[in-house]
C-alpha cells in the first residue's frame, strides 16, 4: 500500500517538500516536478535536509522539467532518479494512490 507523492513547488520558496517528506512512509516514492525539481540538486542549503528525511523513500525527478531549468543530471543528489513522462505514468500505475502536494 505505497503512495506516490508529487511536489511541484520550489523548496526554497515554501515548506511543501519538507512537509511532504515528513509525511511519507517507508516504501513510498516522491516525484519532483515543475519547480519541485530544484529540491533534487546537491550542494544546496536544503540538500542535507532532503537526504535526511528521505530514508526508506525513493526520490524521482521529471527529466523534462530539469532540462527546462538548465539543471544537468550530474547535479542531482545521490539516489535521485530522473524519469521521462512514460516513467511518470509507470510510477502512478505502480503505486496504490497518488498524493499531489500543491
Amino acid at each position: 500500500m505505497a503512495t506516490l507523492h508529487t511536489v511541484n513547488k520550489s523548496p526554497f520558496q515554501n515548506q511543501t517538500l519538507l512537509s511532504c517528506l515528513q509525511h511519507t512512509k517507508s516504501g513510498d516514492a516522491v516525484l519532483l516536478i515543475e519547480d519541485g525539481v530544484y529540491g533534487a540538486t546537491k550542494g544546496t542549503a536544503l540538500s542535507d535536509a532532503v537526504t535526511g528525511l528521505s530514508a526508506g523513500v525513493k526520490l524521482y525527478v521529471l527529466g523534462s522539467d530539469l532540462a527546462a531549468r538548465g539543471i544537468d543530471v550530474a547535479k542531482l543528489g545521490k539516489d535521485i532518479t530522473s524519469v521521462d513522462y512514460a516513467g511518470f505514468v509507470d510510477l502512478v500505475a505502480d503505486h496504490d494512490r497518488t498524493q499531489n502536494w500543491l
Partner: protein
C-alpha cells in the same frame, strides 16, 4: 526633458513554475522604451531565471532565457544578483548565462551586465531607487 527616474525590477521567482519571471521581462522591455534608468535585481529563487542551458523543448514551454542576453540592446545593463541566494541554491556565477552589453561610452566595449552583490549590498541597491517593482 523630464526627469530620469531609477527603476528597479525585483525578481524573486523561478522561471517556469509561475508566469512572474516572463511577465517581469515583458514589463522591463516595455519600460525600456521610456528612457529611464532601469536595473534588475535577482534574489531568492529569482537567481534561477539566469541559469544557462535551459532547454524547454520536451516540457513544451517557451524558453525566454535568451531574452536576458538582448537586454543590453535596450540599455538595461545592470543585473544585480545576490550572492547568498546563489550559495543557498548551490549555484555559482559559472552556472549563469554570460550576459554582456556594449558600452557606448567606451568604444562599444563588451562588458558584463551581471553584478554580484551581497545581501547587504542588495539592500543598498534597493534603497537607492525611485521606483521598485516586484515580481
Amino acid at each position: 526633458m523630464s526627469e530620469v527616474k531609477k527603476f528597479l525590477y525585483v525578481n524573486r521567482k523561478a522561471p517556469y513554475g509561475t508566469i512572474y519571471a516572463q511577465e517581469s521581462l515583458e514589463v522591463v522591455l516595455i519600460g525600456a522604451a521610456f528612457d529611464q534608468d532601469v536595473s534588475m535585481a535577482f534574489l531568492d529563487d529569482g537567481v534561477f531565471q539566469l541559469t544557462k542551458g535551459q532547454d524547454t523543448k520536451e516540457a513544451g514551454l517557451k524558453n525566454f532565457s535568451p531574452t536576458f542576453r538582448a537586454l543590453g540592446d535596450y540599455e538595461v545593463t545592470k543585473l544585480y544578483v545576490e550572492q547568498e541566494s546563489l550559495d543557498e541554491r548551490g549555484l555559482t556565477l559559472d552556472d549563469l548565462q554570460d550576459i554582456q552589453y556594449e558600452d557606448e561610452d567606451d568604444d562599444y566595449a563588451e562588458k558584463p551586465s551581471i553584478i554580484v552583490v551581497s545581501r547587504a549590498g542588495m539592500a543598498d541597491v534597493m534603497a537607492d531607487q525611485d521606483v521598485v517593482l516586484s515580481f
